[in-house]
Symmetry: C2
Subunit: 229 residues, 2 copies
Amino acid sequence: MKLKVADLDERTKLPSGPDAKGNSSRGSVREELHLYRRERILGVAAELFSQKGYSGASVSELAKMIGVTKPFIYYYMKNKQDILEQICIATIDLPHVVMDEVFSEDLSPADTLYKFVRRFVWVQSTNQNYVSVFFREELNLSPDVRDYVTERRKEFDERLGALLRKGVETGDFRIADVPVTVLAISGMVCWIFNWYRPEGRLTLEEISLLFADLTLNMVDARRRSDQAV
Amino acid sequence: MKLKVADLDERTKLPSGPDAKGNSSRGSVREELHLYRRERILGVAAELFSQKGYSGASVSELAKMIGVTKPFIYYYMKNKQDILEQICIATIDLPHVVMDEVFSEDLSPADTLYKFVRRFVWVQSTNQNYVSVFFREELNLSPDVRDYVTERRKEFDERLGALLRKGVETGDFRIADVPVTVLAISGMVCWIFNWYRPEGRLTLEEISLLFADLTLNMVDARRRSDQAV
């Protein structure tokens, strides 16, 4: 079975800048429009904050980029901090969407890990503005949102840790220390926001395949012929 | 031979907060004192910027933390941006100090990589304030310093890439794509600033050993009995 990473795009490609399009089939037209406008604001804000930094950007500038007035923005978002926090919440939730999907399939630990890393690379790269804002601006979050982020990170580590432990039990993986290996894998993938360029030498498809292989090497996975996912 | 990572501390442990001590034997007492005070400012500033963010911190606050006046700070540093830039230059130069040292030894590619990763982990963790400021505040650098940072990063990737290619040639490593593997290794290690806690479950020694092993797995290194460095 060949992986179609793009299948996941609908749910994990967060809204982006000027070309962002809305999603349909989400209830009434009114609700749809509300959601679409909210997401559009977040997408452009992620681009703006990523380019100028949160403290260097203003709501006036954001409104100008979208081509609306400031009151329009304030109808959808409480304030600049609220916009930042919605960006960060969407970003920390992203890898969980991938886990929900991949972990529920009936695959071996090695196949699950392989497929998860490929999709994790995919979502981190296609949402690069969100991810870079998330990692740079953590200090600007309110205590509540910081707690949420910490909780979701812990949950991520536990879920990936459980998969690695399962692989050790089945003999698929050999791992000296599961929690450190979890941090090594997530660090390697999250770091992509620092260097990924869509116009670079390799396609995202190629990068995701290389990273999935590197991860299987890290956990010393027993390779199987039917492993291609 | 057992690695004494602490040997490197003298040159790679950057000055830190309130308890920072100066280095001796650096020319005249006057020069020493100048250098000591400059480094002391940087060390406390790294702590302050790391806690409050660059834009949230002020020179008055920094002066108060050190117990000096603002003019004292301005005698050693041009302005707040100058302080940030000196922190970032010191940080980007760090892994190069480790490379200069480890790469000049007459070791096999696998031994070199193993030793390098151990020490790289060590310097990134013991200078966590510097590293976190560096990665968060890149947008606040002047174009000249940004260019310097880009150049040093490129140089880092090339040097580590050359080591990996040498290992492939000697048959020590099996690597599908050298540049991506370089980015995977450096991402995994740089990411430590995000999760390392000195009071955590594992010692830095233990983390550095685990990361060095994970790296050798990544490059599919042929393990040798005399490899312990």
